[in-house]
Symmetry: C2
Subunit: 230 residues, 2 copies
DNA sequence: AGGCACTCGTGCACACGTTCACAAAGCCAG
DNA sequence: CTGGCTTTGTGAACGTGTGCACGAGTGCCT
């Protein structure tokens, strides 16, 4: 669209924080806040103010010195940068415990990721309705992806079936995958995969608990020194 | 226990990969594999072999040059380092869509994180049984945490209630929190918080999709050049 | 109009993480 | 016992991310 801008590459760390800023800015906008400083935003996001400024500077110079950032405009710019100016329909593979929770979760569509379809390999699941969407057979996946122009797939099958699910998604034309199965997926280089692994998160917490117990017990629970943490 | 060793601090990046190695090693052990090289493990984990060696070197020198690592022994060492030598009961706050999926998910207890209890503020939910556990009222949280010696809490309430849930968990004595609500929790410094945010993950994928579309269309789907990605 | 208070944008130094490259160490064959 | 092959463990170079510090704009008040 614009003549020249656009070949900036935004650091991964920044990309992962932009959605957080975006949500906070949206909340602020709802509360009628029109302008916010990097310090204010940093406080709400639980990060350093300099980091906020540097992150936002990758989008361009959209702040006003001495004043701060105009909330509505910043929301617009972040949304544009994240590609949230239009919806991204997603397809969910696996209609078990997790697939049902995801399908029944409204916040999905609200945030621009409507569920274009849910598929399962189990005929017993096919035909049931979850969150307003009927479960279809996995053989219909290519058709769903094609007709609904789906780019993002969600893998919510058991680990043993996750690679198969990913293969089918890729073959159907999906280019980004969100994987909930505790498995390292093997996909073509061009496909973007992100993994959400419950067990890993819990084990990281376990590590810190164990370490806490092992160290000297100067665990003086400082009950009010609060710190925001992402 | 041992006299001196133990005041090594393991880098965060390494801690977050150890659970992945652990799962893979477990699978290998089940298949009867007794020994594995850093290269083999790296392949399965989708990372660089040097990284595997450096990660494992933080645990000590448990490999044998010219041979590799003994799978069973390595499993033992990683489990010990992660504090997985005993169970860590968890308590889930919020018995909605997500809380139900978590409770109904067996892989939780299997991996050493049995569900010690689920609580909700809604009387309509209290008393129902999920995955073998009866939902109890949130006022019983302190008692559950105390009697079951729970250190880890899971927040699965709507965003608006997440801070309240976290406050109650902290007050009850929990020291680690896994937060599924799209909210930055404010907790005492001593409390470890990890966040799993669906919307953030999807928006990161969206960013890459958008970028893909914006760039020159040399998206020559190289259909076989496969790469494992965590 | 001038000065002042405020906040952005960014150069720089430092910390952390990744990858390469190679010596040291172990195994095995002859 | 020696030589050759394999694979670890780690120093060093490089890349990425973080946070400070401060110059440079901007708005407001007098
Ligand atoms: N439920 C949770 O809270 C939870 C938490 C963390 C991780 N996970 C992970 O999420 C995944 C799903 O968990 P779940 O509890 O929903 O499991 P589930 O067994 O309840 O559901 C899995 C569904 O996938 C379907 N399926 C199996 N093979 C398939 C295939 N090849 N193609 C399409 N569909 C297929 C099954 O028919 C079933 O309906 C698992 O990998 C699990 O480890 C789940
Ligand atoms: N369902 C999903 O797939 C999904 C996906 C991503 C994120 N999330 C997030 O997970 C959280 C839960 O989602 P959900 O779909 O289960 O919501 P839900 O509305 O189905 O369930 C929330 C539950 O929390 C209970 N609750 C409310 N306030 C409480 C309080 N103060 N103390 C204790 N319990 C309280 C409610 O009674 C309800 O049972 C939300 O923050 C949501 O954004 C859910």
């Amino acid at each position: 669209m614009a003549p020249d801008r656009n070949r900036r590459r935004i650091p991964d760390a920044t990309v992962s924080r932009l959605p957080v800023y975006l949500r906070i800015l949206g909340e602020q906008a709802d509360e009628g806040v029109e302008s916010i400083s990097s310090e204010g935003l940093a406080e709400l996001a639980g990060v350093n103010a300099a980091k906020v400024r540097k992150d936002l500077s990758y989008l361009g110079s959209y702040g006003t010195r001495g004043v701060g950032y105009e909330v509505a405009y910043l929301v617009y710019q972040i949304r544009r940068e994240l590609g949230l100016t239009h919806d991204w329909p997603v397809v969910i593979v696996g209609a078990g415990n997790l697939g049902q929770a995801l399908a029944g979760y409204g916040g999905f569509g609200e945030r621009g990721f409507p569920v274009a379809g849910i598929v399962d390999i189990d005929d017993a699941k096919v035909g049931t309705v979850l969150g307003g969407t009927r479960v279809r057979h996995i053989d219909e996946l290519p058709q769903i992806v094609a007709t609904r122009r789906v780019n993002i797939g969600v893998v919510a099958t058991p680990g043993a079936a996750a690679q198969d699910a990913a293969d089918r998604l890729v073959k159907a034309g999906v280019t980004s995958i969100l994987n909930f199965a505790p498995v390292v997926l093997s996909v073509p280089r061009a496909i973007e995969v992100r993994k959400v692994d419950l067990a890993v998160e819990l084990q990281i917490l376990s590590y810190h608990e164990q370490r806490r117990a092992g160290g000297a017990i100067h665990a003086v629970q400082n009950g009010n020194g609060r710190s925001a943490s992402a």
